[in-house]
Amino acid sequence: MDTRILEEFRAVVGERGLISSAEELHTYECDGLTNFRVMPEAVLLPESAEQVQAIVRVCHRERIPFVARGSGTGLSGGALPVEHGIVISTARMNRILEVDLTNQRVAVEPGVINLDVTGRVSPHGFFYAPDPSSQSVCSIGGNVAENSGGAHCLKYGFTTTHVLGIEVVLPDGSMVHLGGRTLDAPGYDLPGVFVGSEGTLGVTTKVILRIVKRPECIQTLLAAFGTTGEAGAAVSGIIAAGMVPAAIEMMDNLSIQAAEAAVHAHYPDCGGLLLVELDGPAAEVASLMERVNEICRSCGATEIRVAQSEAERAVFWKGRKAAFAAVGRISPNYIVQDGVIPRTALPRILEEIERLSAAAGIKVANVFHAGDGNLHPLVLYDRRVPGQEHAAEELAMRILELCVEAGGSITGEHGVGEEKKLMMGKMFSEPDLETMQLVRCAFDPLQLSNPSKVFPRPRLCGEKPGRYEPHPLEVAGIAERF
């Protein structure tokens, strides 16, 4: 990178805020998806929104592409640097700015860790609902970019449900405030579009979050089934009974084994394991838990346990939350996928995955957010075996195709990023994608903010932003605009 520009960056963020030596840059060459790697030209660690703005202004002037990065835990390559670009890390913007318990709102900088929001408000009986498995390390800014979910979004919704307002530095360096502290701010729902845009529309510098009152009672049930099919039938039974549990999670035998090896959650050795969590008023939870118990038994559950203490409940969850990492215990390498299917297609898709897995000679462990049909197949392979990595990647993509064919999605919470951008064409038509890119052109006509992600190919936005075509009536002098 031009030393003149590096000096300019240094002047903005100071010596400590600029990383430009090759050995230090290696830390930033990938995110949680480690098979894609690109060396950035520099990494900047601003401490304030003003510094972010100053950095982005330079990028805009010099046409330098930038990628914002939170904790780098993303699983789709969303924070992967781009060639000849810089990385803007929000790690040092980690202050909780404001806590308004009365109105159940918290304002934070983007580098604040997800679980720290809950940590700050839990003494007062509140929590921040989105709970991705990486919540102890992932940042709110990253959650906003990816519209992160988690086990409890079945009942509580996703990041987008809990973001009321966002302060954003647009790719031209201007700062805007989308949404705000109150609901339904006048105008387009731009927070709705920005959340989940995977860093392609600008850099988040502040977020106003909604926090939720902790329910009176939380109960978690663990049920063991002979097969995932039986477990799936129990899920259907619970939903059909008109319940909306806080979470319903399913694990198959391979993922149970992995979790056991890693964290000793004392899961029963079975073909399909369900975790069902109910929360709400104690009297309500007690009667519904009885129903869940009955449904599980009638679907052939061989063992049912209800957590008797907060500690036991934590152990139930520990195995599930550790499942991705735990697979490392039983396989040298693996791919985590993130497909979504209509929940009722589950038995059919599982069968199909099993068939594909057998045909390819590659094992697949399955972990699901079963309540909302979000599958996390873990495709296990050994990089040292020639051809296996490629076969595993093919299998993983084939599984996503199955999800699309079933009427689902290629991603429920991990994002498209670098990894799945070519799959977008399987899910959306060319006009669908062109229409999404209209938003991109309004926010980032020069395509500087995390370019080359999400979409199969970039769109030319025309020579200048938001090319204006006069209405014929204006040309005729009959009408005017304001």
Binding site: L101, T102, N103, Q104, G149, G157, T160, T161, V176, H177, T182, L183, D184, P186, G187, D189, G192, P215, E216, G242, M243, G280, P281, A283, E284, S287, L288, V340, P342, T344, D372, N374, G407, G408, S409, T411, G412, H414, M427, F428, S429, P431, D432, E434, T435, M436, L438, V439, R440, A442, V454, G466, R467, Y468, H471, L473, A476, A479, R481, F482
Partner: protein, 434 residues
């Protein structure tokens, strides 16, 4: 005045005189196009023609034709909220979604539905009820309001507190853009982060970016029992606000919570519980303890019609939606009271625990209403709030319907220019003249 200008150039203006409506008839069939009547006017601006396409292909063809011909278009569903927003700067064609009235797919076991935009809310709920499900929203005039119109106006009621707004329930939309492009986004599964969330962009956009022709929603089970509503009378709006904040900050899992206040009565707070009989019973007793400082006055679910009741005297009153912080509901009521007193007006407010509320101002002289509304807006905007004027009586003067869109306004204009570069859809009706 905006309205006078618009009518002189919209309907019989020079541009439309050159238009060959026969082309439109040729494109979608003569029987789908008819001359507009007085009932088709939008905020007193008269269109020339009304098109009622029989399917989405025809709708796309009609919109594309209008876009090419420079004809301004107002999309219309049930027409129940057609006057919302500013008067159109011009208007040639009403594009009705009335005949797009199929429920495409109710995947009841997946708790989702895909529905065409012209389906009325009432029809949809009856169909969903066959499987014990519902779309958990309570819009105005559900028998006539259509899905497309409800989404475009972002109209939600007391259920929002528990189930979120339309933005939280819509999972997919199909839009027809002014150039005729048919674009799908989102999908029909409840969890999906592939691509930009255009369903949220279209929600509340008042049809200024594209015409919604189809939408998918996440559904909820119909509660197992009738549910129970408790009403408490508070000594003052501050007490009512205190009760709302305390209930919101408690472990109660209420479905709805609202305050009702008016010029000549003490405020009341309504709370609704759904669920199992045991759960409801336990929560009612907790709620009564919290409300010990207030007087319990009734148990009628009728109170949830209060928002729609505000529209009863539409001829002589203005109706507006406000958004404030939940702890500022009492202050909002006081602001309304002061502004109303000044003009000798009657007022009535229905405010939800979310901080969203509706106010009606009724005045002997409509010209006072405009000033009062401007005062209210200025006060609400001072502290992060807003005021959307949905309806004002004739003679109230030209008051902008929306208020300030803030520093993101230039970005909104760019979004509009990308989707609708020729300004065909509802020109001038949205924020800041978009």
């Amino acid at each position: 005045m905006a309205q006078a200008d618009a009518s002189s150039r919209g309907g019989a203006g020079a541009a439309t005189a050159e238009v060959s409506w026969d082309e439109l008839r040729g494109a979608i069939g003569a029987e789908q196009v008819r001359p507009a009547g007085p009932a088709d006017a939008v905020a007193s601006v008269a269109p020339r023609m009304v098109a009622e396409p029989a399917d989405v292909t025809q709708l796309a063809a009609a919109l594309r034709w209008a876009n090419d011909a420079g004809i301004a278009v107002a999309p219309r569903g049930g027409g129940t909220k057609l006057g919302w927003g500013n008067a159109p700067k011009e208007l040639g064609l009403i594009l009705s979604t009335k005949r797009l009235n199929r429920i495409v797919e109710h995947a009841w076991a997946d708790l989702t539905v895909v529905v065409e935009a012209g389906v009325t809310f009432g029809k949809l709920q009856s169909a969903l009820a066959e499987h014990g499900q519902r779309l958990a929203v309570d819009p105005l005039w559900p028998e006539n309001a259509t899905i497309g119109g409800i989404l475009s106006t972002n109209d939600s009621g007391a259920l929002r507190l528990r189930f979120g707004g339309l933005r939280d329930l819509v999972i997919g939309v199909t839009l027809v853009l002014p150039d005729g492009t048919l674009a799908k986004s989102g999908g029909k599964v409840v969890k999906n982060v592939a691509g930009y969330d255009l369903p949220k962009l279209a929600t509340g956009a008042l049809g200024t970016l594209g015409v919604i022709t189809q939408a998918g929603f996440r559904l909820h089970p119909v509660p197992p029992s009738e549910g129970r509503t408790l009403t408490f009378r508070a000594g003052s709006v501050s007490e009512a606000n205190r009760l709302i904040v305390e209930m919101q900050g408690s472990a109660l899992a209420h479905t709805s919570l609202q305050a009702r206040a008016q010029h000549d009565a003490q405020p009341e707070v309504d709370v609704r519980f759904d669920g199992t009989p045991a759960g409801i019973e336990a929560q009612c007793s907790t709620a009564r303890k919290l409300a010990a400082f207030a007087v319990e006055t009734g148990e009628s679910a009728e109170v949830w019609n209060a928002r729609q009741e505000l529209w009863r005297k539409a001829d002589s009153s203005a109706v507006a939606k406000f958004s404030v912080l939940p702890s500022h509901i009492a202050a909002a009521c006081e602001t309304v009271r002061k502004a109303a007193d000044k003009g000798g007006m009657k007022w009535r407010i229905v405010a939800q625990g979310t901080g969203l509320g509706w106010v009606r101002l009724e005045a002997p002289k409509p010209e006072h209403i405009g000033d009062a509304l401007a005062t209210l807006r200025a006060e609400f905007e001072k502290d992060a709030g807003s005021l959307f004027i949905a309806h004002r009586p004739d003679g109230a003067g030209a008051v902008d319907a929306w208020g300030s869109p803030g520093d993101a306004y230039p970005l909104m204009v760019r979004v509009k220019q990308q989707f609708d570069p020729r300004g065909t859809l509802n020109p001038g009706r949205f924020v800041g003249g978009i």
